[in-house]
Symmetry: C2
């Protein structure tokens, strides 16, 4: 009985669980940490905002100076942006710009639009006055620490550092960030029939697309990829490649991913090379990407993906990518949405089918190519993966399906 | 009357329309083109698959050899993967693995599971036979060119190069790709109150988070960012910075983005510096991010964002990012979905409000922080932007809203 998609996903999560503990930290300038994962809890070294400031362009006032009917106040010196504000004397209103410090004594801001006149007086004019409506204490004031208080947790270890997280660190005055060293993965394509792009393509051969497809996917997911090129169908050759990266030296990787050689054919090089290792080869109830290998090779976590390009990509998206998110905190999960089918679909009973589709702006999704796992041109047109659960064999046009945006 | 969000978006698209024509091409190795945009139409230099091959592990047969009731056929030499297959003689069935070339004369594949016996015979055994059910011509054969035919359009100019697109290029045997040179943007933060992270924070000052927030966002969107640091509130200083990047030399940029100095305060440095330029400063019916500047500075497209960090980010996400997608083909658009509010919301009439939220796995979205545009810690917790259209002033818990995933 094939393993369920959920059970295999869980097995991949468990396989990777020990990886982060082996990884050190790196200190990087903020912008170099974009897309990487915070290694430590980060506490705010100062409060944000660092001082009470105005939310509007207007007049800083003492609220008690203005009765219900409004009041005419004398105009004080404007509060300069970026400097300590002088205290506000009773009976005065100080012109203040958005973000400028609230003067001592002031406890509210009246927006310029509500003032009469509703423009700021020329600073050269002496003894200017302004008529203002009343304002409750605190009106249009951003209190010190109202976004985050000094010493409180700003970002938790494991946070994925995007623009907003890096922007917060800058607002806190920080210039560097401690991130986790990326996970290193060895990627090996296998098969006598596979040749490197740019080489001669003789009869019966195909170019290796899996290496590029997976390396690009892994890079986007924050992994450091070690490419070992193409290994042919001799188990000894594959073993030699793997063993260069499983010793104790600098070439050691955290994870091995192979493509091909895991199915039921007569020449399954990955299966053969793993014969003495604690590696399981098993069918997962999924199409494409059914045959999967999982275990450890000389103690290094190992995943064996099938050989077709679409199967590879779907193995990555269904198992490795979500497990990385769960265990390492990066990459961000694929956005999940529901879309209406623009065409009917059939799916084999008992298998979770993952089709490639294009979600249109009207909320429908159409298929790109058929179910075939070799359709790499169709894959390149798709913007999403379309899920048909194992217990569903037929869907009509207009039926809703779950879609993962690529 | 403020300009609508849609009208301002359209104005930004028009502002950027001339930019791509000024940009040259770059030839890069495939993986370095990840996230960049294809500069030219790409036609397939070969067909995919390059030859008819088997979709299954099984036996290649001449379909005419097997009558309705099945037949016993002699087992031919196995088809070696990665080599030209010898022609199949009548009355024979050739063991064949997934992806191997269909031998001349064969026109169908019977999967190994349907064979009796259902395992491949030892190649050392002479005169082996196998009993096979009938198969219609074409069964389990992937025809040459069924994914894409030689000479047809594989990828159109303007395609964003992700893993699948690069994987397709590798499958076509290509090792380099012509991409568009990235658009260069000059990013200037303004304000007397703003200091660089890492400097001393004296009274009334704040650290510049806009620079980091926007540079990170722009890098993720595929722009090349030129940082000009912080310009204070003297228009002459800002003009000097801008003019270093608008000449005809190598420092020239394709776009200028400033933050701050576009509102109704008394010291609006960007407004003052643009006084002689064809630049409009106008309110957009949006909160936050209402005050916007748009035009050209010495002929270079210019956008003036407001000064609060959340306003900056929302200006980028609402106007610049979608316009880049439309005009340059990159970045990929934000996934749009609908989510149910986990709390009631109010919104000012006539303004499109953009709140920050976290979409949960159960399809609900909760707000991160209030409406205030200074809440950069709240922004760093959010995974999405929540849209409340201008004609909506109240929403109840459970109401559906449009959400853009960040």
């Amino acid at each position: 009985m094939p393993r369920s998609v959920a059970a295999h996903h869980q097995a991949v999560v468990e396989l990777l669980t020990g990886v982060p503990a082996n990884k050190g930290h790196l200190t990087l300038p903020l912008l170099e940490a974009l897309g990487k994962v915070l290694a430590v809890d980060l506490y705010a070294p100062l409060s944000l905002p660092p001082f009470a400031n105005s939310q509007m362009d207007g007049f800083a006032v003492r609220s008690a100076d203005i009765p219900d009917g409004g009041a005419e106040l004398r105009v004080a010196e404007p509060v300069p942006a970026g400097a300590a504000a002088p205290a506000l004397k009773p009976g005065f209103a100080a012109p203040i710009m958005t973000g400028a410090m609230i003067p001592e004594g002031a406890d509210a801001v009246v927006p310029i639009e509500k003032a009469i006149p509703n423009t700021f007086p020329d600073p050269a004019v002496k003894d200017a006055v302004v008529e203002l409506p009343p304002a409750a204490p605190g009106t249009y004031i951003r209190e010190r620490g109202s976004d985050i208080g000094k010493g409180t947790l700003a970002l938790a270890a494991g946070t994925l550092m995007g623009p907003a997280q890096l922007g917060l660190m800058a607002a806190l005055g920080l210039t560097t960030v401690d991130i986790r060293q990326p996970c290193r993965v060895l990627l090996v394509t296998t098969g006598d029939e596979v040749v490197e792009p740019g080489q001669d393509l003789t009869s019966g051969k195909i170019f290796d697309s899996n290496g590029t497809l997976l390396e690009a996917s892994m890079r986007q997911a924050g992994l450091e990829v070690v490419r070992a090129g193409i290994s042919d169908d001799r188990p000894a050759a594959l073993l030699a490649v793997l063993r260069r990266h499983t010793g104790t030296g600098a070439d050691r990787v955290d994870l091995i991913v192979t493509t091909g050689g895991v199915s039921k054919g007569a020449y399954e090089v990955v299966k053969q090379a793993m014969a003495d290792q604690p590696v399981e080869f098993l069918p997962v109830a999924m199409q494409p990407g059914g045959p999967q290998g999982l275990g450890t090779f000389d103690g290094v976590p190992f995943l064996g993906f099938p050989g077709n390009p679409v199967s590879c990509l779907i193995s990555f998206e269904m198992f490795l990518r979500p497990a990385l998110t769960q265990v390492l905190g990066t990459p961000a999960p694929r956005p999940v949405l529901r879309a209406r089918l623009s065409e009917p679909l059939t799916s084999p009973e008992g298998k979770h089918q993952v089709r490639r589709g294009t979600v249109e702006s009207n909320g429908t999704v159409r298929m790109e190519g058929g179910a075939g796992s070799h359709l790499v041109h169709a894959l390149a047109r798709a913007n999403s993966l379309v899920h048909v659960p194992g217990d569903v064999t037929e869907l009509a046009e207009g039926d809703e399906v779950e879609v993962w945006m690529l």
